[in-house]
């Protein structure tokens, strides 16, 4: 398959020698406006033909699965401090699966759109549609993965992307002669429900003694957690909590030294 071969990675600069295959490149998801999503496939280190295909999505929205998922979380490589090369991640998930990192939507990382306005009006809907188109066309490029068990995984705002893509696949499957063999999803620290996420977040801040009783009560009484957009008063309470009461911490890991 010429397209597949054109995507084969011979080796990345500063990469240690590995036995598994890698491919990366673009799949056009909308020919009309010229939107294309970038992917990086690191095949399983053992027996890739029988291992499942696992799609990994990072959230943001707007953040790259290559930057996070592939390069500092589940991928086979880590980037060294001088960015001169890579070293192996001994806990990589490609020990048991074929990992497909997808930069979605267009505008994230290397994924692009020739219609620049796309960067200003993309949302959950287009992301799910384009990601489904990506998967359908990617499987055409890599026919050995057709029928293979597929799992969707991700974290953070991909708590939206993953279920929405799963739903799009289920709908596609109900109308297709060649269904995608979607077996399951796994999401971490996932954005799930506006109201309960927000309520749980300020409760966590209070129960972990990051904010005062007063701020906690004001957040609960002032903010309407069901709304998309916070009111100005609510916004200023969040700012006060983060700027005045949190101190210089890494909110993504409250016990780790912050990266200044």
């Amino acid at each position: 398959n010429e397209e597949e071969e054109a995507d084969r990675i011979v080796g990345l600069p500063g990469q240690p020698k590995v036995s598994f295959q890698q491919f990366s490149g673009y799949v056009t998801v909308n020919h009309h406006v010229g939107r294309a999503l970038f992917y990086w496939l690191t095949e399983a280190a053992h027996d890739p033909l029988s291992q499942p295909l696992v799609v990994w999505l990072n959230g943001g929205p707007g953040c790259s699965s290559v930057a996070y998922g592939a390069s500092e979380e589940i991928g086979p490589f880590r980037i060294n401090k001088s960015a001169s090369g890579l070293y192996l991640n001994k806990f990589s998930w490609n020990s048991v699966a074929n990992l497909l990192f997808l930069e979605t939507p267009a505008g994230v990382g290397f994924s692009y759109s020739n219609r620049s306005s796309d960067l200003f009006d993309t949302g959950d809907g287009r992301t799910a549609r384009d990601s489904l188109q990506f998967l359908i066309r990617w499987l055409d490029r890599f026919p050995r993965y057709k029928g293979r068990e597929v799992y969707l995984t991700g974290e953070s705002y991909a708590g939206h992307y993953v279920p929405q893509l799963a739903k799009a696949i289920l709908t596609y499957n109900s109308q297709s002669k060649h269904p995608i063999n979607l077996k399951g999803i796994m999401v971490g620290n996932a954005v799930t429900d506006n109201y309960y996420d927000n309520l749980g977040t300020v409760t966590y801040w209070w129960s972990h003694a990051m904010i005062s009783d007063k701020t906690y009560r004001q957040l609960i009484n002032t903010c309407d957690f069901r709304r998309q957009k916070n009111s100005d008063q609510c916004e200023s309470l969040y700012s006060y909590a983060m700027d005045k009461e949190f101190g210089n911490i890494d909110q993504y890991n409250i016990y780790a030294p912050p990266c200044n």
Binding site: G11, G109, S156, Q164, I185, M186, N189, Y252
Partner: protein, 148 residues
């Protein structure tokens, strides 16, 4: 600070060539997160819990995990949200283990497995790689997390 290394590495022309990336010469640097997209996000579901109900009905395997020292989308947020699904418990709450250490806690519901990863931040595999790999292996095998 590891994402700073990515900002350097993936903007190297030789890396982009090896990745067959940036072939259209996008008019901006590669970056880990796009501020433009983030600030102009057009449509967002208020809740994806309805989709969870559809996926459970469709028989998909659903795992939700949470690093319990993240304060951005913390474990309390996930628990409040999942509680709305009102799922019956299949395997009651227990600590799961890797290398004789508690990797976190878990409860298996009808249709969904919830697991925490003890001491992990927002990017669980970054902070607790061994535990994250165990979580993934159990998920892929469709088996509950180890009890010892």
């Amino acid at each position: 600070c590891t994402e700073k290394y990515a900002e350097v590495y993936y903007n190297r022309p030789d890396v982009q060539k090896a990745l067959h990336a940036n072939i259209t010469r996008i008019p901006y640097k590669w970056t880990a997160c796009s501020e433009v997209l983030n600030r102009n996000w057009n449509d967002t579901d208020i809740s994806v819990l309805p989709i969870y109900r559809d996926m459970i009905a469709a028989g998909l395997r659903i795992w939700v995990f949470s690093g319990d020292v993240d304060s951005v989308v913390p474990v309390t947020a996930t628990r409040y949200s999942l509680a709305q699904l009102k799922l019956a418990t299949k395997i009651p709450w227990y600590p799961w283990y890797t290398k004789k250490q508690v990797g976190g806690w878990t409860e298996v519901y009808e249709g969904l497995t919830f697991a925490t990863v003890r001491g992990a931040g927002h990017e669980v595999p970054l902070f607790k790689p061994r535990e994250a790999l165990q979580l993934f292996k159990s998920f892929i095998q469709g088996k509950p997390l180890p009890k010892s």
